[in-house]
Symmetry: C2
Subunit: 430 residues, 2 copies
Amino acid sequence: MSDQGVIGVGIIGFGIVGQGTYSILRDNAETIERQVGRPVRVVSVADLRTELLKEKLDPNVRASADAEALIRDPDVHIVCELIGGVNPAGRFVRMALEAGKHVVVANKELLAKQGPQLLELAEKNSADFYFEASVGGGIPIISPLRIGLAGNQIEKIIGIVNGTTNYILTRMSGEGGSLEDVLREAQALGYAESDPTNDIEGYDARYKITILASLGFHARLNVDQILCEGISGLKATDVNNARDLGYNIKLLAVAKRTPDGIEARVHPALVPLSHPIASVSGVNNAIFVTGDAVGDIMVYGPGAGGMAAGSAVVGDIVEVSRNIVSGSNGRLKTLEFRDLPVQATGDIVCRYYARMRVEDHPGVLAAIATQFGDCDVSIASMVQKTAEDGVAELVFLTHEVKERDIQEALERIRQLDDVDEICSVIRVEE
Amino acid sequence: MSDQGVIGVGIIGFGIVGQGTYSILRDNAETIERQVGRPVRVVSVADLRTELLKEKLDPNVRASADAEALIRDPDVHIVCELIGGVNPAGRFVRMALEAGKHVVVANKELLAKQGPQLLELAEKNSADFYFEASVGGGIPIISPLRIGLAGNQIEKIIGIVNGTTNYILTRMSGEGGSLEDVLREAQALGYAESDPTNDIEGYDARYKITILASLGFHARLNVDQILCEGISGLKATDVNNARDLGYNIKLLAVAKRTPDGIEARVHPALVPLSHPIASVSGVNNAIFVTGDAVGDIMVYGPGAGGMAAGSAVVGDIVEVSRNIVSGSNGRLKTLEFRDLPVQATGDIVCRYYARMRVEDHPGVLAAIATQFGDCDVSIASMVQKTAEDGVAELVFLTHEVKERDIQEALERIRQLDDVDEICSVIRVEE
């Protein structure tokens, strides 16, 4: 490992992304070397599963359970942190940056929670810190935001950024199954983790929209300020109702620049079947970006998988290597330079779908309509879905209303004697 | 204009892309400066229409008809060539690169014909040469191929890369109008030029697939070796037949790496309605890239327009400026390093749609089928579309066949006494 010219890569975490990264760097070594001008080689891998390393790695690659030794290794110029999560990943990243090593991660949680601090630390140490694989798997979206679209004021980002929930929603829409049944199948197929909380509750999508919005709007966002609703409460009835009304339900991550600051939210939403985002199916991701100059563009592709994410990690490694060769590490500056407030949830304006069960008496609809009207909620359409045993199911679609107004209206409606239950309230994105 | 830190941009050619570039750099100056670390400013514009310049430019921008003086201007660090065409654009680009100026172009014809030579010239002079706007307007596709997907062996690129023809095909499919009628309307709306040859005959798309294939496969391609058929012969009947069979007709640009070299072609093709590319409508472009690691990804958006293309030009200017700030111009190496042959047209394997008019006699179909069979052309389906005045119209869909086999079969069929005319032969892309 003493080749003068070799750019040495160290991989911490040998899960599916680590293994994908390793195999791409090995199998496409020649193409990569030609593009960089010097060989780029994995010289060291750290993972607690040392048996796995022994089995999978070429014998000339150092294998150990000691990530800190890997970081200190003078042959390692680029540290790939592919463990995920905040601890100990964040500690390893900081240690590497402080040692002046360049760092590539696929870690959306770490980026969303500590991205600005880590970018500053990198800048202070003239080190590169790249993270293309943190959003959208292998789809190029981070570098287009930092490079190709750099001349734009980004106005809006809307994405399907979680493959697991999109797979579940695609299945529910196609077959009418319940969330529980489809989730069980997705787990059996490896499309959902045994503890699916991060995906199902929207946390994963929230990390990702935090990263995209920070880059797109050049602003520092607090992940906890972003409205986040998952799909855990979603009923097959609502998926089917949506289809009947001409919509698919998707878990959307949305960020908009408004005169009042940034509007950012993650939630299931009814999307018109005619919109391209409604036909993004299975584990695919799609991200729409609107810029003042470019207009609307979309990137689309597999949002997960070891090879797809590995492709993004290796793309970053190639860029960092080019920076090493040309002596320009640190050429991408810290981008969060604006202080934009995140809009209060109550001020968000949306259309809504609401389904409720009511006693089938004369005057019920009038009572409900009065409450909506009193709270400035304007109804676009209403369908009575079923009526049996004296109970009717009503589905309302509203015009655009403020979050706080619809919540107030629903609270009042809930207290009406003839209203048994407000079953579902889902946003509509046109 | 003596600010020490200003990075000076000179624009040659003040058409819609030049004006878009100018206004983006002016309106988003602060965002761009923050990302680069130094102000980036248009200091000089050259165009023969000096009255236009006087009307549109700020008074502190130098305006002249003299592109060579602009190139020699020591305040101009980045030359944007936005005239298009090979002459005099190529001369200006070479002059700028030889003077060590960095160059950004939106010029697909120049790139397709002289790209490798210009990239070498840039490298020799440690100058940057960027061209994101040459393909796909504002959609980032060049930099993803050079950066985000750099770890992949690219296997296939399929695109709708010409907005004018896609607009025409969308209208023909939607309304059943003739090419001539729709083209006239497109010209009236400004979606097609008064001389639409470059778009209609597929030359524009051929330039673009040459650029994409060169980058994707790291190979030097000769634009003249690429099969090129436009849409000028397309009949409304075929567009309607295609719809009935479950297809849209699109002008596709296709490049594949095969064991025998590169297969590259531009032609109208029947695309199944279920494929996302079939629903790319209007002046939009979409490019699908398949890499061995990433799988299938797509980028989509407006393929033309001054602001969209300007967005890509400014993205390049930002990158070049970052290179200036970090002293790393020339960090992207010349990429064409492989010597891959372009496959002979006769060896291309495709499915085909063929429509012919025949005498409605017993035995005609048998005679045609015999010729197809003798030439190894296997028929997937046949529809008899009309039969009047003793003349029948037959539509065949073949299985996959070699180009030279189908041509031989069609030649033989053309000579049958009962065959009046082979009206259309169009490829089918699954």
